[in-house]
C-alpha cells in the first residue's frame, strides 16, 4: 500500500518506513514557531517545566506580528517577553519590528520553511506552508513548549481527503476563490482532523502566492494540514531562498484516500463568504449592493506581493468611495519595499487608502481598523466570526484582493469587472 505525501513526511520524521492513518507517533520538528500572543504562554510553560536551553536555537522562530508594533502597554510587555527570551536563548529566527512580517508570509519568503519539512506553530494558520510540500500544522502553546524542550511533537497520522481542481479559471478567479468555494462546499468542519491534499491541472497554473492562500485556509475547513506536491513553480520559489537541504515528497499512485473531491474550476466565479462563518460562501453577484464601511487588504492569507498587484490593478485611476476606509497592509517588510519600488503604494495612496507597516492588526480585531457596532467590512483575511474584527455586532465579508479593491471603490460589495475592463 502506498503513502500520501503527508504520511511520507511523518514516516521520515518519526524514523519509520511506513505510517498509517490513525497511528500515534512522536515526530521530530524542523521548525517550531510562536508569535507575540502564543509565545509568552509557551515561554512560561517552558520555564515552569524547568527548561534551560531550547533544543536547537536555529529551529525556533519567534515573530512579533499580532499586536506589533505594540498597540498598548500590555502588548508591549508580551513583545518584551518574546524579545528577551530570543536574546537569552540566542534564537536565530527572531525578527524585530522593521524587519519582521506576518509569520506565515515571512517564513516562506525568507526560506526558513522548506519542502519536506515538518513544522509546528502556535498559530492555527501554520498550515500555510503546506503549499511548499511541507507538513505544517497549528498547535497550542503547551505543545510548542514541549517542542522547544524536546524538538518533538506527538501526532495522530491523519486520513487524507484529495481535492482535484481542473480546467481553466475564469477571469478574476484566484486561489482565494477556489479555497472559499471548497470551504463553502464541505463546511467549516468538512475536513476535521483530516489532511487536505490539493492537486489538479488548475493548480499548476497558480503562483506560489495563490497556493499559500489556499493552504492557509485549510484550517477554516477544520483540516489538520493543507498540502500540495512540489512542482517547478515550488522549486523555482525555494531555489534562491533555501539555506539548508530539503527533500521533495510526492504521494504514491496507490496511496489511499478517505475521499476524492473533484472541482471543475470553469464553474467557479469570484466568491464572498458572508458573516459569520467562512462556509457561508456565495458568488459575488449574489452579495452585490451590500453597503460597506471598510476594506482590509492584507493578512497571512492575502497580504503578499501578487495580492497587492492585483488590488492595485483594480483600483488604479479610481478613488476609494467617500464613505469607505481602505486599509492596505503588506504582510512583510520585503513586500512593503517591493510595493514602493513597483509604484503600487503610490496607486493606493492616490486612491485615498491607508498603507500600513506589516502587522496582523485588524485581522483579529487587534488594532489598525477595528469595526464599530453595525459596521461592515470586506476583508481579504480568513475568518469572519462574531466579533472577529471589532464589535460583536459588526460584520466581516471575506473575499479576494480583487473583489476587496472593487468593493472599496464602489462602497458596496462589487465584482472587479464593474470597476475595470482589464483582466488578471
Amino acid at each position: 500500500m502506498g503513502m500520501t505525501i503527508t504520511q511520507k513526511i511523518f514516516a521520515k520524521h518519526s524514523g519509520k518506513r511506513f505510517v498509517e492513518p490513525g497511528e500515534l507517533i512522536m515526530a521530530e520538528v524542523d521548525i517550531a514557531l510562536a508569535n507575540d500572543i502564543t509565545g509568552p504562554v509557551a515561554i512560561e510553560e517552558f520555564k515552569k517545566a524547568g527548561g534551560q536551553k531550547v533544543f536547537d536555537r536555529e529551529k525556533i522562530a519567534l515573530i512579533p506580528d499580532h499586536f506589533a508594533p505594540s498597540k498598548d502597554i500590555k502588548s508591549a510587555e508580551l513583545c518584551k517577553i518574546l524579545r528577551e527570551f530570543a536574546k537569552e536563548q540566542q534564537i536565530v529566527h527572531y525578527y524585530e519590528v522593521g524587519r519582521m512580517g506576518i509569520e506565515h508570509a515571512l517564513l516562506p519568503e525568507q526560506g526558513i520553511v522548506l519542502p519536506g519539512d515538518l513544522i509546528i506553530g502556535a498559530d492555527s494558520h501554520t498550515c500555510t506552508y503546506g503549499a511548499l510540500g511541507a507538513f505544517s500544522t497549528g498547535v497550542g502553546s503547551t505543545d510548542l513548549a514541549f517542542a522547544m524542550l524536546t524538538g518533538k511533537c506527538w501526532f495522530k497520522v491523519p486520513e487524507t481527503i484529495k481535492f482535484i481542481y481542473h480546467g481553466k479559471t475564469n477571469s478574476w478567479v484566484t486561489g482565494k476563490d477556489l479555497i472559499l468555494h471548497t470551504i463553502g462546499d464541505i463546511g467549516v468542519d468538512g475536513a476535521l482532523y483530516k489532511a487536505m491534499e490539493f492537486t489538479g491541472d488548475a493548480l499548476c497554473h497558480l503562483s506560489m502566492d495563490e497556493r499559500f492562500t489556499m493552504a492557509n485556509m485549510a484550517i477554516e475547513a477544520g483540516g489538520k494540514n493543507g498540502i500540495m506536491e512540489p512542482d517547478n513553480t515550488t522549486l523555482e520559489y525555494v531555489k534562491n531562498r533555501a539555506k539548508r537541504p530539503y527533500e521533495v515528497f510526492m504521494s504514491d499512485a496507490d496511496a489511499v484516500y478517505l475521499n476524492i473531491i473533484d472541482y471543475n474550476v470553469e464553474k467557479i466565479r469570484p466568491k464572498v463568504a458572508l458573516p459569520h462563518l467562512p462556509e457561508n460562501v456565495v458568488d459575488v453577484e449574489d452579495a452585490e449592493n451590500i453597503a460597506i464601511d471598510q476594506v482590509i487588504i492584507g493578512s497571512c492569507t492575502n497580504g503578499r506581493l501578487e495580492d497587492m498587484r492585483m488590488a492595485a490593478k483594480v483600483i488604479k485611476g479610481h478613488k476609494v468611495h467617500p464613505y469607505v476606509r481602505l486599509i492596505v497592509i503588506p504582510a512583510t517588510q520585503q513586500i512593503y519595499q517591493d510595493m514602493i519600488k513597483e509604484g503600487i503604494t503610490e496607486v493606493f495612496i492616490q486612491a485615498g487608502a491607508v498603507v500600513s507597516t506589516p502587522t496582523c492588526g485588524p485581522c483579529l480585531g487587534g488594532y489598525m481598523g477595528i469595526l464599530a457596532k453595525g459596521e461592515r467590512a470586506v476583508a481579504t483575511t480568513n475568518r469572519n466570526f462574531v466579533g472577529r474584527m471589532g464589535h460583536p455586532e459588526s460584520e466581516v465579508y471575506l473575499s479576494s484582493p480583487a473583489v476587496a479593491a472593487a468593493s472599496a471603490v464602489r462602497g458596496k460589495i462589487a465584482h472587479p469587472g464593474e470597476v475595470t475592463d482589464s483582466d488578471i
Partner: protein, 165 residues
Amino acid sequence: MIFKGNAWVFKDNIDTDVIIPARYLTTTDPKELASHCMEDLDPDFSVKVKEGDIIVAGNNFGCGSSREHAPLAIKSSGISCVVASSFARIFYRNSINIGLSILECEDCIKNIKTGDVLEINTDMGIISNVTTGETFKARPFPEFIKNIINAGGLLNYAQEVGGNA
C-alpha cells in the same frame, strides 16, 4: 473524576473568538481571561456560571485560532468539563495539554437543555442527565492521550517519561 453541575448548552462551531475575543489576548492571566469568557455570545456568562458547571455543545467546538487562552478561560471560569459532539483539532489538543476535561458525545446536544443538572464520570465516559434521568456514553480516549491526562498535562507527562517522549 466525577463532576456535577448545571449544563450550559451552545450550538455548533463555537469558535475561539467568541470563547475569548482577541481584544483580551494582551493578558495571560487566567482569571482576567475567564471574566470575558463567551462574552460576545452572552455578556453575563462569566457572572452566571458556577463552579463545576458543564458546557454542552454541538460539532466543531473551539474552531479557529490556536490560542490556549480559550481552554484556559473556560477552565478558570469554573467550568469543570466540556461535552461536545466534536472538537476542533487544536482545541482538543490544548484542552488535554492544559488539563481541561473534555468528552466527545454526539447524543448529548440533542437531549440536554441549559439548566439541566449533569453528573459526569470522566474515567468511565458516562454523562448522566440527573434532571431527566437519561445517561449517555462518551467516545473513549486513545491510551496515549489517557496517559497525558493522567499525568496532569503534556509537560508533566514529558517529565515522567524523561527526554524519551
